[in-house]
């Protein structure tokens, strides 16, 4: 146990160190080729941050300038796009790290370019991207992009990692009752999700949904933590990812809803008949739009905000160099970003917990067996029970 605690401590120290180094790389990023790709102004910092929180088509570790030439270290990822000529695949290295629509790749008879982390297909006659006043391309259209982007890569990696860890834990149980090694760390987490999230919120039918909740919990948590590493993943800060997770929860709780659940949505018992259709509209909106929307936005916003805050604090190093001098600005930004990174570690867990907890709660509300003899008083008014009160706050 002591050894485990020690290595976790060491790991976290290394982790912060790397995070700091990685984010310090801000000032070397290639945004302005004239000055060797340095980020020197507030606008460049902002642009860099906004670029970072987007998905990207290559795995970029760091860049440096040597002999006036910008060098990038990382590896390309496959691009898979659905163009007007069908599915087209090639490696993202063909864009040569361009993200401004300058490099045009001709594949499968179509002209493709990358602009702000999106792949565009140029019109057949165009030789370059034309922009309108708001910097939107006028002669190119966005494509359906199934690329193995950095986020997809992260998802695959974490999926494999989870499968590796937990299937090993599962195999350990075949030979012994108490797991050893890393399994000893994982087991309490599994028990925590089962006993603190699934059981109390869903009730006796928890077993059927625990697999999903466990998957979601570890998926979000590990990806959140991965987002704090120097690799700069921002998977759980992608709307597409959080929307997908929220829709999974929506499908599960709608599909497993029992009679009481639908009765309470469509024809609320215990209220005057005239009010029932109004309540039905509110309940339908709540069930199908508000609940999943709150799930997806909460996770997306928290994680994106965390990334933006950490990187902005590191940006102090650049922005306040004039006022505080280089050492002062560096120390200030280091202390602040260290502090925020610590909080982000907490947030990483908290958001995974909240997402899982709310998913469990929504599922629990749709499978709960109500005992209606006790829920209504003499006048037919519903007496709020603990669950309804709790639901009102969400």
């Amino acid at each position: 146990m002591k050894i485990a605690a020690y290595s976790i401590k060491t790991l976290s120290v290394l982790f912060f160190l790397y995070s700091a180094i990685s984010f310090a790389g801000v000032k070397e990023e290639n945004l302005n080729p004239q000055d060797g790709g340095e980020v020197n102004t507030q606008e460049e910092v902002t642009e860099y941050i906004l670029h970072h929180i987007k998905d990207s088509h290559d795995f970029h570790l760091f860049s440096y300038t040597s002999d006036g030439e910008r060098k990038h270290v990382g590896f390309p990822l496959p691009v898979i796009v659905w163009t007007s000529n069908g599915l087209t695949t090639f490696m993202s290295s063909e864009f040569h790290h361009d993200d401004a629509g300058k490099v045009i790749v001709e594949k499968n008879g179509v002209k493709l370019t990358k602009l702000h982390s999106k792949i565009y297909e140029l019109d057949a006659t165009a030789s370059g991207v034309n922009f309108d006043a708001e910097h939107h391309p006028t002669n190119a259209k966005k494509l359906l992009d199934f690329s193995i982007t950095k986020s997809v890569f992260g998802v695959m990696m974490i999926g494999l990692l989870m499968l590796l860890w937990f299937s090993r834990l599962a195999r350990q149980y075949k030979t012994k009752q108490i797991p050893t090694g890393f399994g000893r760390v994982l087991e309490p987490l599994v028990l925590y999700v089962r006993d603190e999230i699934a059981k109390p919120n869903i009730g006796p039918k928890y077993r059927k949904f625990t697999g999903y909740l466990l998957t979601v919990f570890f998926f979000i948590w590990i990806l959140n933590l991965l987002g704090l590493t120097p690799f700069g993943f921002n998977v759980t800060g992608q709307l597409a990812i959080t929307a997908c997770l929220a829709i999974f929860t929506l499908i599960i709780y709608v599909a497993s809803g029992n009679k009481h659940f639908w009765q309470h949505i469509l024809w609320m018992p215990g209220v005057p008949v005239l009010i029932r259709p109004v309540l039905a509209i509110i309940e339908l909106a709540g069930t199908f739009i508000i609940k999943p929307f709150s799930l997806l936005v909460r996770l997306f916003a928290n994680i994106s905000a965390g990334h933006i805050v950490v990187m902005s604090l590191i940006g102090i190093m650049v922005v306040m160099k004039a006022e505080l001098g280089a050492p002062g600005a560096t120390i200030l930004s280091f202390v602040l970003s260290m502090f925020i990174t610590l909080i982000e570690v907490l947030v990483a867990f908290l958001q995974a917990y909240i997402f899982t907890m709310l998913s469990a709660l929504f599922i629990g509300m749709s499978v709960a067996e109500h005992d209606h003899d006790h829920d209504h008083d003499d006048h037919g008014h519903e007496v709020p029970d603990a669950e309804d009160v709790r639901a009102d706050f969400i």
Partner: protein
């Protein structure tokens, strides 16, 4: 809002949906199901062991109570037996005493009777011998007394004197 929608990538959404479905399926099949089953089994095992221990404790307590009861019964029985024995002993002693007294009394009575009889016989014999002796003595005395005339006269005088006095 527009930027957000612009950033939303339908391709990523599709990829995530597919990957996540596969992940859920694999995790449930290869990890969660065996893990949760094992945990359940283990918890049931622990609960079973605890229950068994509790039951064993109860049985032990029962057994001990039984033992205690048996011991108590044995003790009571011993006590009763001892008491009986004591009573029998006392009775036997008393009986023996009584018998002995009776026998002794009888012996004493016999002895007394014998002694009495012997005494009587002895007395009778003595009486007879005394009588004989007296007669012999009297004979001798008489023979002696009546040998001469003077003495016979003296005797008559004496007797006459006695008779006057009387």
């Amino acid at each position: 809002m527009e930027t957000l929608l612009n950033d939303f990538s339908p391709g990523l959404f599709v990829m995530q949906t597919v990957l996540f479905l596969v992940l859920i399926f694999l995790m449930v099949k290869f990890a969660w199901k065996p893990i949760l089953n094992s945990l359940n089994d283990r918890e049931e095992g622990i609960q079973g062991a605890l229950d068994a221990a509790e039951k064993a404790k109860l049985e032990m307590a029962n057994l001990q109570a039984d033992n205690q009861k048996l011991l108590q019964e044995a003790r009571a029985e011993r006590e009763a037996m001892m008491k009986d024995a004591r009573e029998i002993k006392a009775k036997m002693i008393a009986d023996a005493k009584e018998e002995a007294t009776e026998a002794a009394n009888k012996t004493i009575a016999n002895a007394q009777a014998t002694i009495e009889a012997e005494k009587k016989a002895a007395v009778a014999e003595i009486k007879a011998q005394v009588a004989n002796l007296s007669i012999e003595i009297a004979e001798k005395v008489v023979k002696n007394e009546l040998s001469n005339k003077e003495k016979q006269l003296a005797l008559v005088d004496t007797m006459l004197n006695d008779a006057t006095l009387n």
